[in-house]
């Protein structure tokens, strides 16, 4: 299983994905040095990613906490999510995400 991560210069990386891992973990363990300063505890917004349709609607809605933390990110759109709050499942095989400002 894999996810496709587009980096800040537009290059697409195919990364091995494991069920239950967060997208942030998959990205970092896949060799892309995403900041994730708080280690995935929804406390910093440096794992900011964009998720477009059709993937966006497949994800559970963000929590109040995640929405609040996105206040600390930049160029936030309705496709913004925090990578540490999106968890990979079988149904998300092939998930496409893009690194957002502040994540590197």
């Amino acid at each position: 299983m894999r996810i496709l991560c587009t980096d800040m210069v537009g290059k697409v990386h195919e990364l091995p994905a494991t069920e239950e891992w967060s997208v942030m973990e998959i990205i970092r363990e896949g060799g892309i040095p995403m900041l994730a300063q708080c280690g995935g505890s929804c406390a910093c917004a440096t794992c900011h990613i964009y998720v477009k349709e059709p993937w966006k609607s497949k994800l559970p809605a963000p929590s109040e906490e995640e929405i609040g933390m996105l206040d600390g990110a930049f160029e936030v759109t309705d496709e913004s999510r925090l990578g540490c709050q999106v968890f990979f499942t079988k149904d998300l095989d092939g998930l496409e995400v893009t690194l957002a400002p502040g994540s590197m």
């Binding site: 280690g39 505890s41 406390a43 910093c44 206040d71 600390g72 936030v76 502040g102």
Partner: protein
Amino acid sequence: MTDTSSLLPIQTDVVVIGAGPIGLFSVFELGLYDMKVHLIDILDRVGGQCAELYPEKPIYDIPAVPVCKGAELIDRLMEQIQPFSPTFHLSQMAEKMEKLPDGKWRVTTDRGTVLEASVVVLAAGGGSFVPKKMPLKGIEAYENKSVFYAVRKMDTFKGKHLIVAGGGDSALDWAINLQPIAASVTLIHRRNEFRAAPDSVGKMRGLVSEGRMNLKIANITAVSGENGQLSSVTLKEESGEAYEMPCDSLLGFYGLTMKLGPVADFGMAFEGEFVTVDTSCFETNLPGVFAVGDINTYAGKMKLILSGFHEAALMAKKAFTYVHPDRRYRFQYTTSSSNLHTKLGKDECK
């Protein structure tokens, strides 16, 4: 906040850069072996990442502590080190480190505090917590002139057409506090819900409905002006509508981020953003300079608080050889040593 700058350098045994959990625990290990400590931290309070990122979140992997919150861990460490009366230099960042002719180290902060010690311990974690800067084209030209990320003097905003960006306590508190002295205050936030304390949100809504403060639900997409003086910002609303808003001052509150800062140039060997150390004592390539906690790297390193605690203990043993070169290191257990009990103020536990 007392400015601790002084004409004469402060003499001490050990300067610890960073007052997070590992910097704090270092005071204990150093104190057991009679070494006095002064700590420096950029935040206005101790606790580092525990205090700033996860004060209310549970930590389950502190040995012998099934669970404790980040803030609680810091409180307990402060209690543990209290017998050693450390001195804290807060709201400042270590800016320079120089070696003195006698082998000691001189550390200078960005507030002019000068400390001299035989030993320096870098316990800087992920780096200094500094405000997140707005990634807008050309904004550097305005920073500290008409764009700010913190309020040092309220007077700076007297009579200004001020824009405050953010949705948390800092943004709302400052918008409310500066409203009486500014010419106008516009609060900008990306959504119409605010994380700030309900009381502050209430006050803000009140000021807005009275016409004494403006509120725009929008993002700032550009700044413009001349010679560092802002004249307007471009706002973009969710509808896609974009427009200019004249202003002469901008305060941005987007939270803090960790940046390595000046320590990168102190002369220690780095591997990427991490200081390399000898794992027998966590000393860097500079004699008398140590690195403990998240800031260091070595074969097998794990960024765990418990690892930092271990590193601090081994560091203290080597630090002793610099601070008390004339004395013999006497390894003792806190359980059985009456000498350590006295130092800890626990004589009555005999």
